[in-house]
Symmetry: C2
Subunit: 455 residues, 2 copies
């Protein structure tokens, strides 16, 4: 049967491009209240596709943008929940786009539009694959559910409620999503680990107003100097190790097998430096760039503001100083524990004479799917069949807080199949999705359903 | 003769207030090109007063605002050069003023107006004293010169050229100025030392653009963390000593006599804390607040800017980070040496992977007049006679770069007689000069000329 499905997909290759263009024309910017009705339309586009394909569909309303839910009871085997999102990032400065962000345009074999990769194009791979199964076989090879939300780009504020209050409906054995990228231009990837995040804002308050640095310098604690001391004391300047007590205690070290595979990937260090624009990489001693990116926890300043920052010199002692500092956590670190340890460390390090205020803007757990999971093997075989290239097993430095939440509430592991280019400009201008990746992504998604059902 | 001069001054007490009001009505904001012609008028007001009093006067033109020069050959004795400035600071937010800044208004015995203390009112004490001598004695007790400039509030960009190209004309034995304050509300002061200043801006450049902290965190040097490390490493967090090599090498320690006098001053630590709005003072170990303010060199952050500083969290690695850091120097520190040591320290401390840019926005020498100077004794006696209260001998944490320049070019020490309240709101809203201080300041200035001539 799978041969017929693939044949159908190959025959409709150009049609998929046109239909994805329709999807991409909808301005579903979830962060922009001015396009709220338009955003919903993208959800309706997804719902119609699944309904027309023969699935039972339902719009799950939320106080924000709704989630599309669909399901089809096909045969035996584990239940797969396809997750994705129909909302997109804002366009940013439109003058930086070579073609308008909501007028999908093909150039050099790639489709340029906001959302083409993140996530409309990649989610569509699964939607078109489901449709292809229904059109050819009249049913899906195994039980499949679909959840496409509309608030991923605004941190899914209502998704947890949706999932907790629809726990039975969403019950599944595995989740599959395509919201990560390939390893490089030619090698597709399965991402099996994401980092957690703890994001903090520290403000130190000193004198009641900015003071003349001549008349008062040296007599009171300068919040700017105090802040620099706190930040600097959190990291060893030589080894770049984070010095927060207990920070590394729960870090899961790689076993030899995982390490061997990871270090065997054809990572291009020189291209990485060139892309980032640095002469050298730098990080925790004892690890290379790939390990630092994927398997080591980090602490970084995201922003600092204090005192006079205009042109020239103004001789003041600032009355306050603010820094945003975030930490990326790896499996098995506990974000609540790191959250606490961070706050305690700030209080411990702060010199006398300043008042401390700490705000938290993020506290998400890391996630890792066991490499030994049967779904992981099915995904690898599916991609190899769909692409003709075996996927790389990679991790990701970014955070996907929904995955540990899926795991906790639904008890299911998530399989991340990456079809888009790692330099696809998601969130930036000129986002694109290679048409070949669209085609191979649909094929791989169709193969995945087959291989999951076969077990 | 001095008795008659003082009698004359006492008799004209109210008239001086009215005439000072005329001076204060002139909007001589040197930083504002829109009032350039008006600014000159304040210089012309000074010139007319001195000309009418019988001195030989001259306007010394500059590319900016002119300087008023006047002189009178009176008897023998050392030549005194009276220095002051007729320009004022901008008003800032005028809604914060209880009466308009250029409509001089008397409330509770004080004259409120921009420039009332800094420096029109204090400079006028000397001008009225010279006039009183001329009106009563027909001549000055000793040779007197006057230099009132119009660019002090914009860092006197043309004063050095004026002085260097008029070295013969300005030749003098001592300079007297009133551009500093009393010790407190009741005790007038002679300031015998000011601090120098080296003001730096450090910018660290890392990746070519802001990076996603998930995908790139931990792999490249974060300019924000690097900057915090550099700033923090410049000061010991426990002793608050500056760690730049050689920083304290040339610091002139106080002798027991000076130290005894300084620590004997009735400094109100609790009031200081309250004024500044801190629960505790803090600074270099082994010194108290007065010493930290006046006789110890300092290093302070004046401002920091890097990365995302808006509301909430944005997970970026900043591409660059900037800090403004300034140091106040005490006698005998050499600003050029500190300037160099600072730059070398930044380069030494910077982690690999960032490019450093350092700008300099100030490099001024400290100044100190020997307490044993005969002019210092004459000033103390003059103030005691004029005020009925002996002055405190104090130092100042701020910088007056013109004083070391006077010393270098004219070879003359400067005597700083402070008549205004230390909380007179110079540079802020509701600047004021106590009418009693105006009167006693004129008396003291008249006494000073007498005592200098007598030797």
């Amino acid at each position: 049967m799978i041969a017929k499905v693939i044949e159908y997909i190959d025959a409709h290759r150009n049609e998929y491009v046109d239909r994805l263009k329709d999807f991409l024309r909808i301005k579903s910017i979830s962060t922009d209240p001015a396009v709220k009705a338009e955003t919903r339309k993208a959800g309706e586009w997804v719902l119609k596709l699944l309904k027309d394909a023969g699935l039972k569909t339902e719009m799950i309303e939320t106080p924000g943008h709704p989630s599309v839910f669909a399901h089809a009871d096909g045969g035996k085997g584990p239940t797969v929940l396809v997750y994705g999102h129909y909302d997109v990032q804002p366009t940013g400065d439109e003058s930086l786009w070579k073609s308008p962000p909501f007028e999908p345009t093909v150039r050099d074999g790639s489709l340029f539009a906001r959302g083409s990769a993140d996530d409309k194009g990649q989610a569509a791979c699964h939607l078109f694959a489901i449709e292809a199964w229904m059109k050819t076989a009249g049913k899906l090879p195994g039980p499949v559910k679909v959840l496409i939300e509309g608030e991923e780009e605004i941190s899914s504020p209502n998704l947890e409620t949706v999932i907790r209050s629809n726990r039975e409906k969403l019950a599944c054995d595995y989740i599959v999503l395509s919201d990560t990228s390939k390893f490089n231009k030619t090698i597709p990837a399965i991402t099996y680990g994401t980092k957690g995040l703890v994001y903090k804002e520290i403000t130190l308050y000193g004198p009641k107003q900015d003071l003349h640095s001549g008349s008062f310098g040296g007599t009171v604690t300068n919040p700017g100097n105090a802040l620099a001391h706190i930040i600097a004391s959190m990291k060893d300047p030589v080894t770049n190790r984070v010095l927060i007590p207990g920070f590394y205690d729960d870090v899961l070290e790689m076993d030899d097998d995982e390490k061997g595979k990871m270090l065997g990937l054809p990572f291009d260090e020189l291209k990485f430096r060139e892309d980032v624009g640095v002469n050298m990489t730098n990080g925790e001693h004892g690890y290379n760039t790939v390990e630092r990116k994927w398997v080591r926890p980090t602490l970084d300043v995201n922003g600092i503001l204090c005192g006079f920052t205009g042109q020239g010199g103004s001789t003041i002692i600032p009355s306050k100083a603010m820094a945003k500092v975030s930490m990326r956590l790896v499996p098995n670190m506990n974000p609540r524990k790191i959250y606490q340890a961070f706050d305690e460390t700030v209080h411990l390090l702060a010199p006398q004479g300043v008042r401390i205020e700490i705000k938290t803007f993020g506290c998400a757990a890391p996630y890792m799917c066991p490499l030994s999971s049967p779904a992981m093997k099915a995904a690898a075989a599916a991609i190899e069949a769909g692409y003709g290239v075996a996927p790389a097993f990679i991790r990701e430095g970014g955070s996907l807080p929904i995955l540990p939440m899926f795991k906790e509430v639904l008890g299911a592991e998530s399989i991340m199949m990456g079809f888009c280019d790692p330099n696809c400009n998601a969130h930036g201008p000129n986002e694109f999705f290679d048409l070949d990746d669209l085609h191979k992504g649909i094929r791989s998604a169709a193969q995945f359903l087959e291989k999951m059902a076969k077990g």
